[in-house]
Each structure stands twice: as C-alpha cells, then as structure tokens.
Symmetry: C2
C-alpha cells in the first residue's frame, strides 16, 4: 500500500546561541519534518536535520524529497522502500533518515508496537542516562550554562578552539567533580597537538572520553598513533558514518558516536551500532539540534548504546513534538502520548 | 603467599524498621566483616550478610570461618582458594561470599586495578540506576518512606501480605507515576493467587517486573503455567542461586535476581549473571541489608546487569565503610577513596 508524502520546514529556536569547533554562534537550527500518510490514515513521522559538514541544507533535503515518488514507499516493506531511496542518491543521508523514520514509525504503528519492540530491542525505562551538551562560549556564559545543567549527572563539552583551557576552567568552577565527555569536532590539526590536549584533559580526572580529536581526513596511521598513546578513549564521530566503515574505525578508535542523520535513519543506526559492538568498540548515540521526532527515534536504539547524548530537543524552546524526555538526565518515554511507532506526536 | 584471617561482627542500625513477606519488622541487621592480610600488608575486605532463609546466622558464619585454615587462601589464586573453601562446606554461601570478596579485593589491589577491571568488565560511572526499596509497613509509613525516596527514579516495593493493595495505594498517593519493581518474596501460595495478584499489579501500568511470586518449592510445571500467563516479567530470586540452576530457571522465568550472598561472592555472581544472559534472560543484581563492602562488591558486576537494586547500605545509619554511592539513584564510585580492589575502605 503506497503512501502520500508531505513535508514542512521548521526553524528551531535555541535557548542559547550555539557554537562548536567549526562553526560560529547561531540562534536557530533548520530542520525538515516529513509525514507519510497511508490510505488507511496511518501517519509516519520523520525528521531531517541537515548537516552542513556534509554539504546538506534544508534546500538539499527539499530537493531530495521532491525527487521521491511516494508510490515507491510502503509501511509494509521498510527495507525495500529504503532500497528505492538509495537509487535516487548515494548521499542526502539526513533526507533519507527522515523517510526511514517515517517508514519505521508507520510500520510499528501498524503493528501496534513501539518501534523498539518491533526491532526486538525493548527499552528500559529510566535506566539510560544522557549527557547535556555545553557548546563553545565565553567563560561567563559557560558558567551559567553549567549551573543550569545542574540536574544532569554528565556533561558533554565542546572543545577545539584557542579558549579550551579557560572554558574547562569555567566549567570546573561550577561543577568541580562532574563527569564530562569532550567533543573536539575535528578541532585539532595534528596528532601531536591532539595528544597534548588529550593528555591535558586526562589530568582533569573526570573526563570519560574524547570525540573526534582530529579531522576525519587524518590518515589511519595518524589515528593508530594517537589511539596507542591516548590516555583517554577516543570516539569516532565524523570518521564513522555507517556499518561499512567499521573495519578501519575499529583499528583507529576505542568507540563510535552513531547519529541517525549520518546513517540514514534508525535502520542504518541499528546496523552501525551492532557492527561496532561486534568489533568490541564502545557505542554511543548522538544527535544534532533537532526536535523530539529525531530524538525519540534515536532513543529506540538505547539498548545498543553504552552512552547516550540525546539532548538536542532540550536545547530548543519551540519543539512542536512530544515523545522521549530526559528529566535529570534519565531517558524516558513515560510522558509520551503516542504508545506506538517512534512514540512521538504533536504537542498540541 | 598465604594470608591471615580476621573477622568481626557488626550490628547494622536500620533507618526504619524493616519487614518483608516472610519476616516481621526488625531494627538491626547482623553481618560479619572479614579481613585477609597478606605478609606484604595488602588487606582484602569481605562481608557476610547471613540469610535466615538458608539457615544462616552470624553464628554459622563464625563457625565456618573458624574451620578455615588461612594457609589455604592466597590473593594469587582466587579460584584455587575458593576450591579449598568448597571442601569445608557445600553450604554457608554468605561466609564463602565474604572470603571471595576479600580474596578478590586483595588480588585486585595487588594488580593495582579496580576489581571490575581485573574482571574485564569496566564500570560506566553514573550510567547505572538503582531502585530504592520500600519494605512492608503501615500505609502512613509507606507514604513517608516514598516521600523520602523522591530522588530515586525507580522504587522496589515488597509485597506478599494481606495489605498489599492498601500499601500500593499509599505509594501511589505520593508517587502516582513512579516506576516500581515488585518483590513478593515467595509470599503468594498458589499459581492462581499469584496470577490474580500479578494481573492486579499490571493494571497499575508502571510496574516493571515481579520477583519470586511463588515459593521456590513450587513445581516447574506451576512456574511454566505462570510464566505463560503473567502479564509482567517474572524474576527468580529464591529460585536462582547460581549458574548451575540456569536450565530450569530459563524455562520458568523471564529474568533473575543474582545476589552475592547466594552465589558465594563476586566470582559466582559473575558466572550466574553470564549464564542468565546467555540463556536470554534479563538480569539484575540485588542485595541484603549490608554495608558498603558487599554493595561495592555487587557494583563490580554492574556491566552484566539490566537492572540494579543495590541500596542495602542506604537503609542503614552506621555504615563503617565508604565505597560505591547511589545519589539520585545513580551508581557511582566517584566518592570512593580506595582506587583499587572493591574500591571500599573504612570511612574514618
């Protein structure tokens, strides 16, 4: 049974301006929400958070969606529908992600199951902890953000700029012993610089791991050099797109950060996490600035993750959707009003 | 290198009188702490929390310890030392537990590693959530205990008495939507009564699973009957002692509650959890009323557990030791002063 495809652009308002190593501050994030509607009225919801790093934008997402013949998509064959999308473009992962989410949402709603049960994973309510991310900012702003994040047991700190040391010092003034994860977003340029910074971070004593210390373009030789010497586990983010990358990544990293916008959705995310687990790597699932649609989709895979970073919907003030929540850092579907699919619906 | 063996009796003071289905209220719990001291001064700490259900008492623990020739124990061969203890008695699991903990503590201290690293498991700091247990009591006391337990995201409620319904109603007055796990401690006598009570519990909508609804002496046929019909997962506690029981338990239950006092320590607990995981069962680790020695030992196995119930040291007011802590339900070694072994030491 084919479906009808709608989409709309959304401007997400950020509670605080947001910056990471490779971008300056921004006040909004743009996403595209898609709806697949079957003839029986079943609606599948999905979301694309386009990634500038991969030359994606709301425009490229729209262009991809306009190429899709909705007759090629059906809730009764998610895999076949994804194979059809693959014939349209080898790239456009965030657009394919949106459609994969909507397909899975519809398929699970038709089966009258949460998607995590359809996938055979289950979900342990309030047994998963997410970090809360502190973007790059002035030390005084970091202090106040860390104060606001007091209920979160674990923070994720963005680094990779000249002020890293002042920024960590600001965080430590407010939260001297809080666990942190550090994300360099490819911010350090040589393996020697990365090692020096990781050695400095390790002295803090409360850093769990460091994400993507070098550009994804760094050679495997450089990564192996760094992996052998790093006093902290190093996780691949920009270096790990999908399960296909696992062989090289397993050699170069201790863990991976899987994101649905990189894997083209939950189906690809499942495969990327499973591949990493089989290779003996630690796993985490991450996010972009995004609504409860994408975050609820990521939470479906919680049982495959050692760590979670699913706070993208907490950073915005105008989330139109309600699904998974993260009170005190605990991931929960207790407030979700939709029992099936991705367990997300309009807040209305 | 043989060791010297010391032990002492401890009376643990309870913050509130404590009752479960098969015992009336008590204000103290009696444990025995053991120390193994090597010639080089390395001290291994262990603890026995004797289980009346298995005809154990501080006296039976002492009697067992007095039979032990400490020359048969060495930090350099935990397995061989345990094999020697097995020749003394097939029972006395809590006494053997105390010595297993002390042996492992000493072995890991000598290796300059936390025991969880010596076991190859690691420990994800503040990524594990423990429940907080509400014992059987009058409804007004239950209300105030549940209020006190506000920071805990998950509660464990003891049932198996005529007042179960009034007691759950009291809990729900204070915490209408909080997740709970229910422990019947063999309190229901027939499979029909158990099913009726579990169906009633399932209507609550926020119960995760039910432990030991029937006596361990119930037939496999009765358990299978109940497993097929139960709307909630049923976990074996009194029915699961060690890995040797796994075949029958996998047929009869959805999950297991492993306790170190039943498995004879961390080594046996590791095996019991692994056997359950391989059989496709859900796993939890539980505890008695006990000090931070036994609780820190249980926490070493966190990575093998789907659920944790390690609040035994929170329920007492005179814990002489400091190791693992459970702030807001999150299991953490951040406040432990001992970096190696079970990561527990005298509070002093």
């Amino acid at each position: 049974m084919p479906v009808k495809l709608n989409f709309k652009h959304l401007d997400l308002q950020l509670a605080h301006p947001w910056a990471i190593a490779r971008t300056s501050g921004t006040n909004t994030a743009k996403v595209v929400v898609v709806e697949l509607i079957a003839a029986d009225g079943t609606v599948g919801l999905g979301e694309a958070a386009p990634v500038a790093r991969y030359k994606e934008s709301p425009k490229t997402v729209e262009a991809f969606l306009k190429k899709v013949d909705a007759r090629g998509l059906t809730f009764s064959d998610v895999e076949g529908s994804m194979a059809y999308l693959e014939t349209i473009s080898k790239h456009d992962m965030s657009a394919k992600c949106a459609l994969n989410l909507a397909l899975l949402d519809g398929a699970a709603k038709k089966a009258k199951k949460p998607a995590y049960d359809l996938l055979g994973l289950g979900f342990r309510e309030k047994q998963h902890v997410t970090s809360f991310t502190i973007g790059i900012d002035k030390p005084e702003v970091i202090r106040s953000k860390v104060q606001e994040a007091e209920p979160y047991p674990v923070l994720k700190m963005k680094v990779g700029v000249p002020d890293d040391k002042a920024n960590l010092a600001a965080l430590r003034e407010v939260a001297p012993n809080k666990l942190i994860r550090v994300d360099a977003n490819e911010g350090w340029k040589t393996k020697e610089q990365a090692l020096e910074m990781i050695e400095w971070l390790a002295q803090d004593g409360h850093v769990q791991y460091i994400e993507q210390p070098l550009p994804a373009s760094a050679s495997a030789k450089d990564w192996v050099w760094l992996k052998q010497r790093s006093p902290l586990p190093i996780f691949a983010d920009e270096s790990y797109h999908s399960a296909e990358d696992i062989e090289e990544v397993a050699e170069c990293f201790h863990g991976v950060n899987v994101k649905l916008v990189k894997t083209g959705g939950v189906s690809g995310g499942f495969a990327a996490l499973q591949a990493a687990r089989k290779a003996g790597l630690k796993t985490m699932i991450g996010c972009m600035i995004e609504t409860s649609v994408l975050i609820s989709a990521a939470a479906q895979l919680a049982e495959l993750c050692d760590y979670m970073d699913v706070d993208g919907h907490v950073l915005i003030t105008n989330d139109p959707y309600v699904g998974v929540t993260v009170k005190n850092g605990l991931v929960s579907f207790a407030e979700a009003r939709e029992p099936f699919g991705l367990r997300v619906c309009l807040r209305s």
